[in-house]
C-alpha cells in the first residue's frame, strides 16, 4: 500500500480529500514538444504547462480527490519523488489561483456577474476607501480601499472570477482562493442590491 504523507508545510493545511473540478472555460492545446497552452476564455489569460503538469491536469475530473490523483501518479510511475504530494498540491494551488480548476462548491461553480448600480455615486476618500451613496434609496456604505478597487472594477459586469483576477494583479493575496472568493462574494452580497446589481448569465 502506498502511504501518502502530507508532511511539509505546503500540503499540511491542504485538504487532500478536495476534488478539483476543471474550469470548462479553459481551453487546452497540446503542442508537438509535449508542452501545452491553456487559455481561460473568460479572462483571456494563458499559461504554458509542462508534461508533468499536463498529466496532473488530465487527472482532474471532479471525481478524483487530490489524494487519489497523487495515488494515480504513484501507480503510474515506478519512481516518484518523496515530495510528490507537495508538488501536486503546489501545482493545484497554482491552478486554483489561475482559475484553471476549482474545488467545486456553489460559489465557484455557479458563476454570476456583478455590476455597479449605475445610480450610485462613489465619494473617493483616498487611502481610507470610499463612500457609496444610492440617491434613490438614500442608503450609503463606507468601503475600504480593497472594496473601492472592487467597486471601480464593476463599471462593467464582472464575474467573481474576474474580480479576483483583478485583485490578484493588484495585491499579493495569500489566503486560499476559496476563502478569497467567499470574502469577495460576502462583500458583494452586502452591497446588493442597493449598490451592486447581479447580472444573470
Amino acid at each position: 500500500m502506498i502511504e501518502i504523507k502530507p508532511a511539509s508545510p505546503i500540503s499540511t493545511n491542504f485538504d487532500l480529500s478536495t476534488k478539483p473540478v476543471a474550469n470548462p472555460a479553459v481551453i487546452f492545446r497540446e503542442g508537438a514538444d509535449n508542452w501545452a497552452v491553456l487559455v481561460n476564455m473568460d479572462t483571456a489569460a494563458s499559461i504554458a504547462l509542462n508534461p508533468t503538469g499536463i498529466l496532473i491536469l488530465k487527472l482532474i475530473d471532479g471525481k478524483r480527490s487530490v489524494e487519489s490523483i497523487v495515488k494515480g501518479l504513484r501507480d503510474q510511475f515506478k519512481s516518484v519523488p518523496d515530495s510528490l504530494t507537495d508538488d501536486v498540491v503546489s501545482l493545484l494551488k497554482f491552478f486554483f489561483r489561475r482559475w484553471i480548476c476549482w474545488t467545486g462548491g456553489p460559489i465557484l461553480t455557479a458563476p454570476k456577474s456583478y455590476v455597479a448600480n449605475p445610480v450610485v455615486s462613489c465619494g473617493d476618500e483616498g487611502n481610507d476607501g470610499a463612500v457609496l451613496f444610492n440617491p434613490d434609496t438614500d442608503d450609503s456604505a463606507i468601503i475600504n480601499a480593497t472594496g473601492k478597487a472592487i467597486w471601480i472594477s464593476l463599471g462593467s459586469p464582472k464575474t467573481l472570477q474576474e474580480i479576483i483576477s483583478i485583485l490578484e494583479e493588484r495585491y499579493q493575496i495569500k489566503s486560499p482562493i476559496d476563502q478569497t472568493a467567499k470574502e469577495v462574494e460576502d462583500f458583494l452580497t452586502t452591497l446588493t442590491p442597493e449598490f451592486v446589481q447581479e447580472v444573470s448569465q
Partner: protein, 138 residues
C-alpha cells in the same frame, strides 16, 4: 525660500475631499417682501445664473460625489426652469430638497414632481411659516 508649493487640492487629514451636502440660492428674486429678509432689497436686482451654468455646476458636484443639494432663493419656484435644474441634480446622482414660501406651489407644480425621479429623490419641501397667525405671518 519656498521651492515647492504645497498641493492645495489634497484635503487636510480628517476632512472629506468634498462636502456631502450643498445649499444653493438659485435666484435672488422673490414674490414676497418679508420684513426680516435681505433678499427683497439687496438681491432682487442681481441677475440669476443661467440654467447652463447651474447644470455645469451640478455636473461638478456629481463628480465630487456630493449627496444632497438644498435649493433655495429668493423664491425657487419663481424660476421657470426649476425642474430642469432639479433634473440636473438627479442626473448627477444626488438627492435634493426645496425651500419655498409656498405661495407659488400649484396643482400643476405638484404634478410636475411626478416626472422621472423627481419625487423619489426629493427629501423635503420646507415651507416658511413666520408666525402663529396670519397677521404676524403676512
Amino acid at each position: 525660500m519656498i521651492t515647492e508649493l504645497p498641493d492645495f487640492v489634497v484635503s487636510p487629514p480628517g476632512l472629506r475631499p468634498a462636502p456631502k451636502s450643498v445649499d444653493l440660492s438659485i435666484t435672488g428674486r422673490c414674490n414676497l417682501k418679508c420684513a426680516y429678509c435681505f433678499y427683497a432689497n439687496e438681491m432682487a436686482h442681481l441677475s440669476d445664473l443661467p440654467k447652463e451654468r447651474w447644470l455645469n455646476f451640478f455636473d461638478e458636484l456629481g463628480s465630487l460625489a456630493v449627496q444632497r443639494v438644498a435649493i433655495g432663493g429668493g423664491e425657487a419656484f419663481l424660476r421657470p426652469d426649476l425642474f430642469e435644474l432639479v433634473d440636473g441634480i438627479i442626473d448627477n446622482k444626488m438627492r435634493y430638497s426645496l425651500l419655498s414660501n409656498g405661495t407659488l406651489i400649484t396643482e400643476d407644480t405638484l404634478e410636475a414632481f411626478d416626472e422621472g425621479k423627481r419625487r423619489l429623490r426629493l427629501d423635503s419641501i420646507q415651507i416658511s411659516i413666520d408666525g402663529s397667525c396670519a397677521e404676524i405671518h403676512n
